[in-house]
């Protein structure tokens, strides 16, 4: 196991380490960029941030429209009331008409009254000022705080991991003990990032990194 770690660390070191650069070399910055480019096949920090915020459901997209929605919601009626009533009064009006030809009785029935009513109510004060907006704002504030805490933690872990990778690239471990320690710390940080991204991170890290 230890041998494997040492082997992996050494191979990685051989892969990425460059010839020592002299302090006066004007290409120092380019050399540093070249070493960092070794890790270009790994997820970028912004991608990791997006994965973490999506996994924790603290993505800004999820709450961006809350304030607008809270305001527009009051353009719809606050209350809608419908009423239908059918009354059968059974009132009867019996009238008798007598004519020269005889007598005829007329019966007039006044029956079935149908009443329909629709009522709508708007509270236009809430179109101007809506307390739901305040509630939404407070909720957004909490989510924003959670998001910042989460993502700054992701940043710390991501760059701590990259720091270790760069350290190996600059100075490959020369002892089993150090190789094991370094590899374990990189794996620990990878696991931390996995925990924050729901396993997304390790899925996107090339094997052997």
């Amino acid at each position: 196991m230890i041998r494997k770690f040492l082997q992996a660390a050494s191979v990685m070191g051989l892969m990425v380490v460059a010839a020592p650069v002299h302090a006066d070399d004007p290409q120092i910055k380019a050399e540093a960029q070249r070493i960092l480019a070794q890790f270009d096949n790994e997820p970028k920090i912004v991608q990791v941030q997006q994965a973490a915020s999506s996994y924790a459901r603290v993505n800004p997209d999820s709450y961006d429209s809350w304030m607008t929605s809270a305001r527009l919601a009051n353009l719809l009626p606050k209350r809608l009331y419908g009423h239908m009533r059918n009354t059968n009064t059974d009132s009867k009006d019996l009238r008798t008409t007598t004519a020269s030809s005889g007598s005829v009785s007329d019966l007039t029935s006044n029956d079935d009254q149908l009443q329909l009513e629709v009522r709508l109510e708007w509270d236009l004060t809430k179109v101007v000022f809506n307390r739901d907006g305040i509630a939404a704002a407070r909720q957004i504030e909490r989510i924003v705080n959670q998001r910042e805490d989460l993502l700054t933690t992701v940043n710390k872990l991501y760059f701590a991991r990259r720091q270790l990778q760069v350290e190996i690239a600059l100075d490959p471990p020369t002892s089993v003990d150090r190789a094991v320690k370094t590899q374990l710390r990189i794996q620990g940080l990878t696991a931390d990032l996995d925990a924050l991204t729901g396993g997304w991170f390790s899925k996107h890290v090339p094997k052997g990194s």
Partner: protein, 600 residues
């Protein structure tokens, strides 16, 4: 020198960048310029924030000592260049000497510390990363009101932050004879006064886990230590002994040895003045008396100095006291917001600094706040200076500052060009802070508009719209007797009392309540929260941007000495950009990538 010039330019450029009107002047007591003096940010290049102590050499004020949570630097050229002379471990209070001299302490815990840097690595110094996210707390999620929000990280006078800041690291320097005494929250250190590199630092074998706040050499060469557990005397054998005459466990924050002038045949009298957490004590080193400070008898005092005229100036708890030379009578007691440390300036004026900035006392104007150019007012220490243009040094959460004449702005055009070249395509500080505010849930402007909307909302009514219709069905029957039947003769359906009604009702009660009580409690609470959010953005994002801008300009203008240093700079920049990306809701570009709003 070629390397130093850009650093100086960076400092001035930052001054320019930060003078952008990101924040309007806050309302409050008189805030004016003191004879066109402005604060200029400056400091050790590897650290730009979290300075905790500063001192100037009394014999040559071009020599400046600066301490942070983990490090001590010295400059012998008025702040142009800096040398690291001591590094402390934040975790244990033990030192990790980088040089070859002095004592080397190894913290047994450090070997298993998972957060410790890798062996042999100096890519990341602990101070390199400004960690504004390391806040004490966050707003909780219980929805409680701000007034009961125990997570509030800063009280009204900002003392919480300062307490937090002072909890670790260097708290004060004292320069006595050939040594610089470094008082820390975990014991006492001494460095050779001539030290300009690491290696001379030595831990005094005393109270390793005890906060040492000050040291002084008293009469008969006795060496006194002001600690969180009272006053101690350090013997020649290096063993500390607590002086029982001082109240047990009362924290002593500062010591001054005061020698009164000789009068007639009387010998000059030397007395020791102690600023403690429970008032002022004066004594001869063996016995101390409690001095009455008036109404605030037991006020916590942080600092004590002797003015050139012999008066004793004491500061603490937002008050500055001036006492007569004997130290027994309080001549003046001035309330000065946040005052905790005092110093005597170039023309003999009294200065005080604290959580509300720097204040200067003049007989004509009283205490005047001097914060021109100071973008973070939470200061923790002050040191006098008469070297060159520098009038005063202060340190605080945002780093090290020096008070210089405004003429330093002659570099403006040069700096602006440098800044424009190196930061081209990136959002400036104003834009970044604006973006960060935009990313927050609630903004002050939003709350302001809510207040107006709330007051005007009653003008619009509750509207009721009603439509009602009746339909009556009449049926006529004819009775035909001969058939003995009724025959439907006619059916008539006719509308009756159809009604279409629009009703508007105005509720005047909210208007009355608003007139009587002002804004609704919920809006008022939200206003408080928005203010805190704004303050938090200022505390976090602005220093972060400044650190990033400074590092970027340094990286662009300097050639790193090694690949390791270049990698350190690049990773530091990348992390700062990633943090800014978070705080601005994705608007700040990371690593040259296009941001949400298309910048860079």
């Amino acid at each position: 020198m070629g390397r130093l010039l850009p650093i100086r330019l960076v400092g001035v450029a930052l001054c320019l960048a930060l003078s952008a009107p990101v924040w309007a002047a806050e309302p409050g007591p008189a805030t004016t310029r003191a004879s066109d003096l402005v604060w200029e940010p400056i400091g050790p290049v590897t650290t730009s924030a979290g300075m905790t102590a500063v001192a100037t050499d009394p014999e040559d004020t071009r020599v400046i000592w600066v301490g942070s949570a983990t490090s001590v630097w010295v400059s012998e050229d008025g702040g142009t260049s800096w040398n690291l002379v001591l590094q402390l471990s934040r975790a244990s209070g033990l030192a990790r000497e980088a040089g070859d001299g002095g004592e080397v302490e190894v913290d047994p815990d450090e070997a298993t510390d998972p957060d410790a840097p890798p062996e042999g690595s100096d890519i990341f110094e602990e101070d390199t990363f400004v960690d504004p996210t390391n806040r004490n707390s966050r707003d909780d999620d219980d929805g409680d009101d701000d007034s009961t929000d125990s997570n509030s990280d800063q009280d009204d006078d900002g003392s919480a932050d300062n307490d937090q800041q002072q909890r670790f690291g260097v708290t004060r320097f004292r320069i006595l004879q050939d040594k610089v005494w470094v008082c820390t929250s975990h014991g006492l250190w001494s460095i050779a006064r001539s030290a300009r590199r690491t290696g001379t630092g030595t831990e005094v074998r005393f109270g390793r886990r005890m906060a040492v706040n000050d040291v002084a050499r008293g009469p008969d060469k006795r060496f006194f230590l002001a600690t969180e557990r009272g006053l101690w005397q350090l013997g020649d054998d290096g063993i500390g002994r607590q002086l029982p005459q001082v109240e047990d466990e009362v924290e002593v924050n500062a010591i001054q040895v005061v020698t009164s002038a000789a009068v007639a045949d009387a010998k000059p009298v030397t007395r020791i003045v102690l600023a403690t957490s429970r008032g002022l004590r004066i004594g001869d080193g063996d016995r101390f008396e409690h001095i009455s400070m008036g109404a605030k008898d037991d006020a916590g005092l942080d600092d004590v100095i002797v003015e050139p005229n012999g008066h004793i100036a004491v500061a603490g708890g937002g008050t500055v006291y001036r006492m007569d030379p004997s130290g027994s009578v309080v001549d003046e007691a001035w309330p000065v917001p946040g005052a905790s440390r005092v110093a005597v300036g170039r023309q003999g004026q009294l200065w005080t600094v604290g959580s509300k900035g720097a204040w200067k006392y003049t007989a004509d104007e009283g205490w005047v706040r001097t914060v021109e150019g100071l973008f973070d007012r939470r200061l923790v220490d002050v040191a006098p200076s008469d070297a060159g243009d520098v009038n005063l040094w202060v340190v605080g959460r945002a780093g090290l500052w020096r008070l210089v004449p405004e003429t330093a702005k002659v570099f403006q055009s040069q700096m602006a060009a440098l800044q424009a070249r190196t930061l081209a395509g990136y959002p400036d500080s104003s834009k970044t802070v604006h973006d960060a505010l935009e990313a927050r849930g609630v903004k002050q402007s939003q709350v302001d508009s809510w207040v107006i909307e709330e007051r005007l909302a009653w003008l619009l009514p509750h509207v009721f719209l009603q439509y009602r219709t009746n339909r009556v069905r009449n049926e006529d029957y004819v009775t035909i007797d001969v058939l003995d039947r009724q025959i439907l003769d006619a059916v008539e359906v006719k509308p009756q009392d159809d009604e279409f009604r629009i009703e508007a009702r105005w509720d005047l009660m909210p208007a009355l309540l608003a007139a009587i009580n002002g804004s609704e409690a919920r809006v008022a609470s939200t206003r408080g929260r928005a203010r805190k959010q704004q303050e938090r953005v200022r505390e976090v994002v602005l220093p972060l941007w400044q650190t990033w801008a400074k590092k970027r300009m340094e990286y662009e203008t300097n050639e790193p000495a090694s690949t390791r240093e270049a990698l350190r700079d690049l990773l530091t920049l990348a992390k700062l950009e990633a943090d800014l990306h978070v705080y601005t809701g994705g608007r700040f570009p990371v690593g040259g990538a296009k941001s949400k709003n298309g910048a860079k």
